[in-house]
């Protein structure tokens, strides 16, 4: 299945600000040393961004799967 593409609603904008204000001070995963420097601040920001975008992505993936399943059922039903 094609991965869903995420648009940018106002809710997401407000969500990231809320999320950032709550968890920003506490985020970094210890990662393997890379040959390029990811920079600490970039990693911290990424953790926050991925938290928000991951939730949106998962929700959207789920909804798309539900929609796909509903369409499949509907097309089978209408063929009969």
């Amino acid at each position: 299945m094609r991965e869903p593409r995420i648009r940018k609603p106002l809710l997401r904008y407000l969500g990231v600000l809320l999320f950032a204000s709550l968890v920003a001070p506490a985020a970094l995963h210890a990662m393997a040393l890379a040959y390029i420097d990811p920079l600490s601040g970039s990693v911290l920001l990424q953790v926050i961004a991925a938290g928000v975008l991951g939730m949106i992505f998962s929700t959207k993936s789920f909804l798309l799967r539900v929609r796909g399943a509903a369409r499949a059922v509907w097309s089978r039903f209408s063929r009969k």
Partner: protein
């Protein structure tokens, strides 16, 4: 085993390096990269997928006897890209396609248990008309929970310049020529318009990103370790998805620049253009070059004449809109032999980076078999005051054969260049042109273009 010449720009990644032996390009894989390389080529299926989708330059494994040093784990012979181009020579859509290709590769890698460990624009090249990854060693095994180490690099190399070109001025691409590791995000943040703060993606990936980098610039490794937090796989996919949405939504219309409409407004009528196309075609057929550099190509009308004769053509122009239009034509027509490149011939991209050797100058990336220099001599000699002898000397270094158009002083285009300046170009005439070029070339043929007063020459370097 030790007569391979390591490429000067191939030193950052300890996983391996490029070298040349007898004019053939090889990539050495070091033992430290063994596990990742075997996973990439084998069990993950990622190499096969990327090749099938045309996202990676293919390679073949060759004998270890060809290695540049005894430590080699593998030696690869990658398919060679005809002309190496850098981000600062790309049009808006070329950069956009390079960014989307990088994200498509990252998505494919995550699906197959690997991750892109770098996201440099210099790892993408245009090959057979498409943006492809050329660095086979850019992948590491994906470890659940780890952030994407190349996130900042992607934002600096791709997102920031695209945003600046789209929302501020397309010429800001030139910043990438100064900042070889991409445009610093604090600089991009300062240059972007205020309205960009209202875009969620730009706010997150540029403005907040820049502030977070600045705020945590003094954070120590121990402090970072104390703040452990996972980045889940859906989180990474969401990040990639959002970056792709942001990039796909960006646009730039190629209009309003000096040369954008030149093709329809130029000095030739339709019959004159057809005559010129015929003469240029015949001259190129006589030369029969495998590679052609078309200087001042505009949207590439004559580049296509050369390409139709079987040549691989790099189509240079100084105008962003002309290069963009030419590239869009490459895409829509599926052309594989024409590479439009943004280049100011009065200031071509130099050798730069570490020790002046990391990125090659235009001249170092040659020579081509033939140059096309149509309706450009007056821009070099009059607009830029370059003596005719210097133009001849420069062209002779770039290719062995030359098809050049001389535009006389009486031509309306020359008159236009002189309309607001003193005419100090008394030596700009056909006689001087031929005399100066004869110092470097033999003139094999010279043909007038209809009744325009212009003349096409076919020359061979002495």
């Amino acid at each position: 085993m030790n007569d391979g010449r390591r490429l000067a720009g191939s030193f950052r990644d300890p996983s391996g390096f490029l070298f040349e032996r007898d004019g053939v390009l090889y990539r050495q894989v070091e033992p430290s990269y063994r596990e990742a390389y075997d996973l990439f080529m084998g069990e993950s299926g990622l190499y096969r997928e990327l090749i099938e989708r045309g996202l990676l330059v293919p390679h073949e494994e060759v004998s270890l006897d060809l290695a540049a040093s005894s430590s080699a784990y593998r030696v690869l012979r990658p398919e060679r890209v005809g002309f190496i181009s850098y981000i600062y020579s790309w049009s808006f859509s070329q950069l956009k396609d390079a960014a989307i290709t990088t994200l498509a590769i990252q998505r494919a890698a995550l699906d197959r248990g690997m991750v892109l460990k770098d996201a440099s624009a210099y790892n993408i090249q245009f090959h057979e008309g498409r943006a492809v990854l050329i660095d086979t060693l850019s992948f590491d095994p994906y470890v659940e929970g780890e952030p994407w180490v190349a996130y900042r690099q992607f934002c600096q190399h791709f997102l920031a310049p695209l945003l600046l070109m789209s929302q501020r001025d397309v010429r800001l691409l030139g910043l990438t020529r100064v900042h070889l590791d991409g445009i610093p995000l604090d600089l991009a943040s300062a240059l972007l318009p205020r309205r960009s703060w209202l875009s969620f993606s730009t706010l997150l990936h540029v403005h907040l990103h820049a502030r977070s980098i600045r705020r945590h610039s003094a954070t120590t490794r121990a402090e970072l370790a104390d703040r452990r937090r996972r980045v889940s796989r859906p989180g990474l996919l969401g990040l990639v998805d959002n970056l792709e949405s942001a990039i796909r939504s960006l646009s730039w219309r190629p209009e309003g620049t000096e040369w954008a409409d030149y093709e329809v407004e130029h000095n030739y009528g339709e019959a004159g253009m057809e005559e010129k196309r015929r003469i240029v075609g015949e001259m190129l057929r006589t030369i029969s070059p495998a590679t052609v550099w078309d200087l001042g190509a505009n949207t590439g009308v004559f580049s296509r004449v050369a390409a139709e004769l079987g040549a691989r053509v790099v189509s240079f122009d100084v105008d962003s809109a002309a290069v963009e239009r030419s590239y869009l034509r490459v895409k829509t027509s599926g052309e594989r032999r024409v590479l439009p490149i943004l280049m100011d011939l009065t200031n071509p991209s130099p050798a730069q980076g570490w020790a002046h050797r990391e990125r090659e100058s235009l001249e170092e990336r040659g020579p081509a078999d033939a140059l096309l220099a149509l309706a450009i001599i007056h821009h070099l000699s009059i607009s830029n005051n370059v003596p005719l002898a210097d133009v001849a000397s420069c062209f002779a270094r770039l290719a062995g054969a030359l098809v050049i158009e001389f535009v006389p002083r009486e031509d309306p285009q020359v008159a236009r260049l002189l309309v607001s300046r003193r005419d100090i170009f008394s030596s700009y005439d056909r006689e001087s042109f031929e005399r100066e070029f004869l110092s470097y070339y033999t003139i094999d043929e010279s043909v007038p273009v209809g009744d325009t007063g212009r003349r096409l020459y076919r020359m061979t370097r002495r």
